[in-house]
């Protein structure tokens, strides 16, 4: 038997010239639990896609480097081949048939059958009868291995979420010759006690000789369960540590790190912020699927740039979406001391707020309409500007729209063939600028910008961020930036609020320690700080 179950050596992967993995190596021994840590976009999923031979890898030009399973070099072309080599995956979202029993789900598509009259007659294996007895026995064995004492003939329907995860795992370990199991954020949907059970089961599996690769954001779980830890950041291998040689603080620091330096905001600006509150948010809830906000309190000062950071799915995106009325929300919001009606987009826009959505193509643009139409449409509807009035009838004031669009194109440096070009044909960065131009046309006092640099290239990123800083400085606009990229928040913001599990974990200055950011994003800041205080 080879020393390592899995070796990935110097993996390099480009997506259309954008290098997402820059020579990453990874070794997992039999019976080892190896944790893979990293922020969103660090390259974890790409690495796993390579391991499973996902078609997306091969349709984009393959990858460089070498994958060895049990010391044997393999080139996996499809998830099916990976499965045959003994690599299994436990998915984050469950892939189970609710109306089937546990045993049927575990044996799904690998049913054990015995011949019958029809199958003999037609010589067709798919007509054979299920051998339920053997199937149930196999399922029982797999469930026992996980220490799960639920009956195999129970239907999946109505089982608690924690159990479903176990059935997924049982299905993987029931496969013959499974050597390596990948857990993709398995505890994300589990309660604490369920997560504990899962970690126990993982250890049990590892003891039986299966290698486990464990992807997660939760640092305490890593410390609790893993033997070794690999940390990725921006597609680079930052460090590999044995769990004995490290602690939560170091992991948090390694995970966040300092990345690209964007032009720092000048210090002088910090003084011009008075402590007048522009927007006060109390006990705010937003029901946005996948980004739920569960009661936040936040005060946003006049003239500041506030960053809202945090990992994906923790609720940071929900805040702006709730205030702009895209998703139902509740709570108490005051704009300049006056209560704001919730769930009414029109009211919010009329009262000096503007939004740049994170879903640029889905929400932010009329893709088939021209740049000029996109820029003025909201203002026209909300404020009745850019219109000529003839009694009760109106007509668009097209010369004025054109001149305003031309001014915006020049001011924001939108690269296009002209104001009549459909926005669909623009590049991501220029589309983003059109979105910003539309928000600016409203002349807002408070501007919400979500994920301003998602999916645009580095040069354009800098332009968009510089633009936001400029607006803040020159017009005194209060800007709230929501972003998954901590580095850019730290470059432009005055304060950064980190959202974890739908709540504000804490507010930091941009020059706070990497460690503090990492801990807050992992939701362990207060836990760790408390224990520190207790010691000292």
């Amino acid at each position: 038997m080879a020393e390592y179950t899995l070796q990935m050596n110097n993996i390099v992967k480009d997506y259309y010239g954008n290098r997402v993995l820059k020579g990453v190596s990874l070794q997992v021994k039999p019976g080892e639990i190896h944790a893979l840590l990293g922020e969103n976009g660090a390259g974890k999923s790409t690495l796993m896609n390579i391991l499973f031979g996902m078609p997306v890898i091969h349709s984009t030009g393959g990858f460089e480097g070498e994958v060895l399973i049990d010391g044997e070099s393999v080139l996996l072309k499809s998830p099916k081949e990976a499965m045959e080599k003994g690599v299994g995956m436990v998915h984050q979202e469950f892939m189970l048939v609710p109306g089937f029993t546990l045993a049927e789900n575990i044996k799904l598509n690998r049913e054990i059958t015995k011949p019958n009259f029809a199958s003999t007659l037609f010589r067709n294996k798919s007509l054979e009868t299920l051998d339920r007895k053997t199937m149930d026995q196999d399922a029982r064995k797999a469930l026992d291995r996980l220490g799960m004492n639920i009956d195999e003939w129970v239907k999946v329907q109505g089982l608690p979420v924690g159990h479903m995860q176990f059935i997924e795992i049982a299905r993987e370990i029931d496969k013959l010759g499974i050597k390596l199991l990948v857990f993709d954020e398995p505890t994300a949907v589990l309660t604490e006690s369920e997560a504990d059970n899962l970690l126990k089961a993982m250890k049990k599996l590892a003891d039986s000789g299966i290698a486990i690769l464990f992807i997660t954001h939760r640092l305490d779980e890593v410390m609790n369960a893993a033997n070794n830890i690999t940390i990725l950041r921006d597609g680079e291998l930052v460090a590999t540590r044995a769990v004995e040689d490290t602690d939560v603080l170091e992991l948090a620091e390694l995970m966040v790190g300092r990345k690209v330096e964007v032009t720092q905001k000048e210090e002088s600006n910090a003084n011009s912020i008075n402590n007048e509150v522009a927007l006060s948010i109390k006990n705010y809830h937003v029901d946005m699927p996948g980004e739920e906000v569960k009661g936040i309190d936040l005060e946003i000062h006049k003239g500041e740039i506030l960053g809202i950071g945090g990992l994906a799915g923790q609720g940071k995106i929900g805040i702006a979406n709730g205030i702009c009325g895209m998703y139902p929300s509740s709570g108490d919001i005051k704009l300049n001391g006056e209560s704001l009606k919730l769930n009414d987009t029109r009211y919010a826009l009329e009262n000096g707020m503007a939004f740049v959505s994170e879903d640029r193509r889905g929400v932010g643009l009329l893709l088939d309409s021209s740049i000029e139409d996109n820029i003025v449409v909201t203002t026209m509807q909300i404020k009745g500007e850019y219109l000529k009035k003839y009694g009760p009838f109106t007509q668009g004031n097209f010369p004025l729209i054109r001149s305003h669009a031309l001014k915006m194109i020049e001011d924001l440096d939108i690269r296009c063939t002209g104001p009549t070009q459909p926005t669909r044909r623009l590049s991501g960065g220029n589309q983003q600028k059109v979105c910003v131009a539309r928000a600016l046309t409203l002349n807002p006092k408070v501007l919400f910008v979500s994920e301003p640099t998602r999916g645009i290239d580095i040069g354009a990123k800098k332009l968009v961020l510089d633009l936001l800083v400029k607006l803040n400085k020159e017009l005194g606009m209060t800007v709230i930036i929501t972003s998954s990229e901590l580095a850019e928040l730290r470059a432009v913001c005055d304060r950064i609020a980190i959202v974890t599990e739908g709540k504000i974990e804490g507010i930091l200055k941009p020059d706070a320690l990497d460690r503090d950011f990492g801990l807050m994003m992992a939701g362990e800041y207060h836990k760790v700080m408390k224990s520190k205080e207790a010691i000292s």
Binding site: T345, V363, L366, S369, T378, M380
Partner: protein, 346 residues
């Protein structure tokens, strides 16, 4: 060279190119078969004018996000109701024509609002539901036409009760638009009034499109999420689209009837949505996007094809009643082809 051809096809659109070529081919056949070209051309113009507004009714419906209005019979029935009431009230000539339109409007607006509210409840499957709403309302009105207490001698059966299947308009407002300022060059006649009326309706819709409401309606059809984020009430503008489409259909059928010379009741409106949908799709529209130019081009091509195809088929195959069958094949073939283009040309 091939680049130039590709540019042209891209600009014109493959379906329009194919239909145009087929139309030209039929025109050449008509000439070479010695068919009277002048009368064919004036027929084409007349049919273009009489069907145009029914096709125009597709525009607000598509722009507001309801998709092509397969529920066109709803509006058509409002127009028919207006016409029979106008006859009942003894309105003749221009008064009859305008009376029919004005009387039908309250019905069309009320029906449009109700229909729009219904479509708001079934977002995503408008086209199918609309088709069957149209079918059911036609059947329902077939009962109403029998029971309706009207007694103008032009309309009711001489014996028994109920309205006739076709009501002649000779004595009321038949051909009133067609003959208004009609130009005649020998056998080639131009129905000026009819065309003028159609173009005025196009201009009205065009002006609406450029107003604050029109722009909001287009935005809510283009991207409902964008509209919501811009504080636009999407459901309201879908109802506006439905009301406009239904009203245009009502006006459209009055224009159609005066040009045809008859009002057709009972099952006649059943299938009228399909040629209108096909015409606007051939014109270059999709289920999400439609412009006035699509209406004009599409109606001309579609009606031109039908007008020319029938005599050519008659001439080519002289056996019995085959030409009528052929006409059905051509018409439904074009509709089928157009419907495959619902998704637009991308």
């Amino acid at each position: 060279m091939s680049e130039a051809i590709r540019n042209i096809t891209k600009k014109v659109g493959v379906p329009r190119l194919i239909i145009s070529l087929f139309f030209l081919f039929l025109c050449f056949s008509a000439v070479s078969l010695g068919l009277p070209f002048a009368s064919l051309s004036s027929d084409t113009l007349t049919r273009f004018g009489m069907n145009g507004i029914l096709v125009l009714a597709m525009v607000p419906s598509i722009q507001s996000g309801l998709g092509p209005n397969f529920g066109l019979p709803l509006g058509i029935i409002c127009g028919i109701l207006g016409s029979v009431l106008a006859i009942q009230f003894g309105l003749v000539g221009a008064a009859g024509f305008w009376g029919a339109i004005i009387i039908s409007m309250p019905f069309a607006i009320a029906v449009g609002i109700a229909y729009g509210m219904m479509l708001n409840k079934i977002k995503g499957s408008e086209m199918l539901v609309a088709t069957y709403t149209g079918f059911s309302i036609v059947s329902f009105m077939s009962i109403v036409w029998v029971l309706i207490p009207l007694n103008h001698p032009e309309m009711v059966w001489p014996i028994g009760r109920g309205l006739r299947v076709t009501i002649a308009l000779d004595s009321t407002f038949g051909k009133i638009l067609n003959q208004f300022m009609m130009l005649e060059f020998g056998k080639f006649k131009v129905p000026t009034g009819l065309l003028l009326f159609f173009f005025v309706m196009c201009v009205l819709v065009w002006i609406f499109n450029r107003s604050r409401m029109g722009i909001a309606m287009k935005a809510s059809g283009d991207n409902p999420k964008f509209a919501i984020a811009s504080g636009i009430d999407v459901d309201f503008y879908r109802i506006v689209g439905s009301v406009m489409s239904t009203s245009l259909a009502a006006i459209g059928i009055v224009v159609y009837a005066q040009s045809y010379g008859f009002v057709q009741l009972y099952q006649a409106p059943l299938m009228m949505a399909f040629p209108a949908v096909a015409a606007v799709l051939i014109g270059g529209a999709s289920a999400q996007k439609a412009k006035i130019s699509h209406v004009i081009i599409g109606t001309f091509l579609f009606q031109g094809l039908l007008t020319v195809a029938l005599p050519v088929a008659n001439e080519a195959i002289k056996v019995g009643n085959l030409s009528e069958v052929l006409r059905m094949i051509v018409q439904n073939g074009i509709i089928l082809y157009a419907l495959t283009k619902v998704g637009g040309e991308s």
